[in-house]
Amino acid sequence: MKDQVLPFEKPVIELKSKIAELKKFTSESDIDLTSEIKKLEDRLEKLESEVYGNMQPWDRVQMARHSNRPTTLDYINEIFEDFVELHGDRLYGDDEAIVAGVAKYNGTPVTVIGHQRGKDTKENIRRNFGMPHPEGYRKALRLMKQANKFNRPIICFIDTKGAYPGKAAEERGQSEAIARNLKEMAGLTVPIICIVIGEGGSGGALALGVGDHIYMLENSTYSVISPEGAAALLWKDSNLAQRAAESMKITSYDLNELGIIDGIIPEIRGGAHRNVAEQANNIYETLQKSLQKLTSYSKDELLEQRWEKYKKIGAYTTL
């Protein structure tokens, strides 16, 4: 698969290909360019840390949507053992925009649930671009309740543009499905850890997002509406998405500052897709610390802390 190059990282990619060219040239001819190559490599190092160290909100939006960005299943394969996928909501169907199942994390049984995008058109059609219908949320809830019954921690990966805005989704109660998940998740007495790995789009993301700990990958976003949607609504011009990305405060750094998430999981330079195994390892370590802490709480403590956590989110004052 050809690597998708994002506009802001173009200088890096160009320099990289130049170095590769020189290397090829050196190996094929008698002229020794080793010192020039070394110089360029030093320059690349500098350029990379400059470009990836100064990513703007819009750059991160594009990174979160990168076509090669690791998906829920990619991380499941790396992080967990013995994953058994489970299907269906027992009411209507099986929504492949959400994957869910049981697995082991470092030997401990857990339930894993996440939005699932496709990486190409064919898979995206099958996964409905990671935009769930009500049956997806109901499948997730069914398996969360199962986890609760058998006292397994729940780990959710969030990666969706939003719940699917379609006729059938409305007929089958998209609102009710999301609302029910919010309420029921609040009452589960097992630890719930949520990790935003790509786009966290509005209510459709939130329906897997009521956690005791919420983390975001460094280049993921979490927002009430897409930057394009916000621009269209607020300024009647979806071309102002870049500006909206800045003013809506949707990056991991913004949410951390707003006190909504519990931490940022650092991404490897150039984005998670550069090395899935390494990125998965970062997530693995965060999960370890998080689980250690959460499993030390009693059921009542979990419920109380969950309430305290959400109770304090908001900005208001009195006249």
């Binding site: 719940a163 006729k167 609302a179 609040a186 009521v210």
Partner: protein, 285 residues
Amino acid sequence: MLKDFFSKKRKYATIPREEAKQDIPEGLMKKCPQCKQIFYRKELNNQLQVCPNCDHHHQMSAWERIHMLFEENSFVEWDRDMISENPLEFPDYVEKLEKDRQKSGLNEAVVTGKGIIDQYETAFAVMDARYRMGSMGSVVGEKIARAIENAREENLPFIIFTASGGARMQEGVLSLMQMTKTSVAIERFSRAGGLMISVMTHPTTGGVSASFASLGDYNFAEPGALIGFAGRRIIEQTIREKLPDDFQTAEFLMKHGHLDKVIHRHDMKRTLSILLEIHQPGGES
């Protein structure tokens, strides 16, 4: 012709002076948006804002609802002075809030409190679509969560009338998180055995329909109310087909099994009163 000399043909129209325009009391009459008939506002008031001709349920303000349901002087308001901040420093947001405060006489898009319906005391929240389209920002979420907590602590039922376009864009992800906050509050209340009744009125969409509005032990709606998750235009663009006229109406939701009942406004108080009685601690012996 000779008579042309005497006829006064005006070549221009006179626009009445500002003062003259205001001679007619504002809003003496109101046109029904559905059947286009014009009624005296007083007549509509007597009919609880239901069109005498076509039964269209006009939107009601928060306080009209309170007066419609509660015993006189029984309603005590909570958190009246709570107002929004501008956490994302959104341009013009503060001015818009102030403008709506003037227009609606409310400090935010929801009024909460407790009072007596017939003889039953209940906690109550009612949204007002005239304030920022009833959108949910931090204050709406906080006031509703507090009202639910008060209901839990005082062992009262909780009734909510929703009217909202959804989350408030200007407060970004903080608005989104109000969906969670209110839902967690409802779960706590529900676990303690609390009764919640949700009445969805026109319009109840987006983040509000996808949180507390759908979480009552009873979910009701007023006739003709628009209720849904995604906007009609967005859906039409997504699926590239025209949607039926009744799409996302209360009746549509009822048909698809998402509502307990569509209740005519004239029957609202009585129905709520019956349910409150049924849920009295200990029940009827």
